[in-house]
Amino acid sequence: MPAADADLDSFRADTRAWLEENCPPEMRTPMKGDADQCWGGRNFTFQSDAQKLWLERMAAKGWTVPDWPTEYGGGGLSREETKILRQEMARLGARLPLSSFGIWMLGPALLKYGTEAQKQEHLPPIARGEIRWCQGYSEPGAGSDLAGLQTRAVDAGDHYVINGQKVWTSYADKADWIFCLVRTNPDAPKHQGISFILFDMDQPGVEPKPIRLISGSSPFCETFFTDARAEKRNLVHEENKGWDVAKYLLGHEREMISGMGHDGAGKTLPQMAVEAVGADAEGRLADPLMRADIALFEVRAAAYRAQGERFNDEWKAGRLNPAQASMMKYYGTELNKRRNELVMAAGGSDALEWESDDSDGGKKARDWLRSKGNSIEGGTSEIQLNIVAKRILELPS
């Protein structure tokens, strides 16, 4: 056995033993919904001592961000080791210790574009779950046309003064800091006057207001800025070059959204349908038209899983056109919407219940409605198709 493989085997054994020893039993059950997720931050109320302990233990190992460098609070693990950690956590059914836009979005941007001082200041509190971040991108007049954003940042010496409004800021009412796209040069062409800046939400000029969605929950806010203050040392990348950072991050976001709803634990769609609708004498789903719909959906879902594998392999090998992330986002989110439609069709009137215990507080219906946002957030399906048409198919504009 090559030395590297032997090292990985011993890493796996150590990891397994450590997880067995340190993951509290309560953290080994499937999360039922958003309420079970640990988001951390200044104002977070832990659901249980076990949830807090699990975060602290994992953060101490650097395993909330296993592949970040150790000097920024990460685990310093290689790609292979990170994969093993994930596998071992899955084996145990261990919950994610920390959900965080700091980890998923800001972290990768700071690692690529941040100064050493910015990394030192912001990454370790993200890794420890001490600061919760939100993303200030979309505005009422800048959705698909994100680069048309108008929130102004005016130079005031050592800081910027910020005025304007953001919308669809995820959990802005619960976040401690925001990473935000602002206009620093209103006279330049629209992509060239945008900057990427970080600032504290705990100040008088920042006012988030939750938006109630069709699913009944309010994960997003409108966020208003009135003479809010952002220190210049928190400008990421150069002034007026924020669009580079935004594009880099959108790629991450698209991959993240396209992966939603595809590897969740629990029952498969056919299992749910058989339970709800029943089976004929030969074991076939009793509703033949629904069975056909589901069977053809499952073909596409299986093919898309293969495409996910291919996308990752090609990405690792540096063989991808970056616009292929748009294709993945488009296909994955459309598939997830379709899946939720079929879940609702299979569930019938049971799946319509909105609050009952039987329905887990209307989980199917709320997930179904929430899934409709997948093809809107992070760039609509139509924007993704535009990108594929222009950057891959090279159709003229």
Binding site: V299, M327, N386
Partner: protein
């Protein structure tokens, strides 16, 4: 193994692509069709396929072949699809070879050298109705003397009127619907009591309806074991379906490429029609479907080559997905070409005809989705 082609496989693709473009582009199909050809392919081209090693791609090196796998077979078949090249490669070099690899050395000794040399073709007599369903095989094979008597009808036997050998699925036991009790036979051209009725199909290929009226074969005509033909038949069908998936991918990609080129040159209202967002979005959607179908196909080929137990399901997925996707590609292709898409002069209509034929071959998307559902327990 990463889910993309290795350097060697890319080299093979480049060589197959250059070969088809030079020797057998769409013009070759037109010429064959318009000359009232009665064979269904060009035997001289088949010899050249052999010289390139394509006909022996799956045959082991020990037995005189290239000893490559389903990924490589797929690379060649995709180029065949892209150029609509009429060829018995899928039935002979891929599906039949896969069956004979499980079916007795005497068959391989008899047929592999001739296949490798481009001197023989093999056709597959599986289907008995308009829709594929191998377990439904009803044709009877009664014991008779030292061998068997075959009685029944087959259809959609591509190249069956001309093939040197037919692989025939018949029933030695069980009842239609059972997978047990089927036996595969190698029946040579000209066997007494066998009548082929060749029919030209929409895509200009020729498939025969074949009548077996008490055809006598020896015991050593059996491929594999009596009553246990499902094993080699599954090998045949898995190889055939993975190969047909690759060919369908080539057909879909070929149609899509022509359509993209047309969108970039055709003008209406004084502008290139490819600037219209209504068409751009449909083109981009088609691109996504083709990429997903490509991944499903490569996954199935790699799993077949690895001998994985997951190959079976992956092949069903690939054949269903490529069938759906190639048909989307040709329908969008004809529509986006507008009026000229309806003319025989433009190639896109030929792609439409080929896609439907291949989608039907070895089971359409509904067949494979149904099989996947059955195997998943619903």
């Amino acid at each position: 193994m990463p889910l993309y082609l290795t350097e060697d496989q890319e080299m093979l693709r480049d060589s197959a692509s250059g070969f088809m473009a030079e020797k057998a582009p769409v013009a070759h199909l037109r010429k064959l069709r318009d000359s009232d050809d009665s064979i269904g392919h060009d035997p001289a081209l088949w010899k050249e396929f052999a010289e390139m090693g394509f006909t022996s791609i799956l045959i082991s090196e020990d037995e005189g072949g290239l000893g490559l796998g389903h990924v490589e077979a797929g690379v060649v078949l995709e180029e065949i699809g892209r150029n609509l090249t009429p060829s018995p490669l899928l039935s002979t070099g891929i599906a039949a070879v896969a069956a004979l690899q499980q079916g007795g050395k005497h068959h391989r000794d008899r047929w592999f050298p001739a296949i490798a040399a481009g001197d023989a073709t093999v056709a597959l007599a599986i289907d008995e109705g308009a829709k594929h369903g191998p377990a439904k095989t009803a044709m009877s094979a009664e014991r008779s003397g030292n061998g068997f008597r075959l009685t029944g009808r087959k259809q959609f036997v591509v190249g069956g009127h001309n093939a040197d050998m037919l692989i025939v699925a018949a029933r030695t036991g069980g009842a239609p619907g059972d997978s047990d009790g089927i036996t595969l036979f190698a029946v040579e051209k000209g066997a007494a009591g066998m009548t082929a009725d060749p029919r030209r199909l929409a895509d200009a290929s020729i498939a025969a309806r074949i009548e077996f009226d008490g055809v006598e074969v020896d015991a050593d005509a059996v491929i594999g074991e009596v009553d246990a033909g499902w094993g080699p038949l599954t090998a045949l069908l898995s190889a055939g379906r993975a190969g047909a998936s690759a060919e369908l991918l080539g057909v879909g990609q070929g149609a899509a490429d022509r359509t993209m080129a047309y969108l970039k040159e055709r003008k209406q209202f004084g502008v290139i029609i490819g600037t219209f967002q209504a068409l751009q979005h449909r083109a981009a959607h088609l691109y996504a479907e083709l990429e997903v179908a490509r991944a499903a196909t490569l996954k199935a080929q790699q799993l077949l080559d690895a001998g994985s137990s997951k190959a079976h399901g992956a092949v069903h997925t690939a054949k269903a997905m490529t069938g759906l996707t190639a048909q989307l590609a040709v329908q969008e292709g004809v529509q986006m070409h507008g009026g000229v898409g309806m003319t025989d002069e433009y190639d896109v209509g030929l792609y439409m005809k080929r896609a439907r034929t291949l989608a039907e071959l070895f089971g359409d998307a509904n067949y494979h989705a149904d099989r996947l559902a059955r195997e998943a327990g619903y």
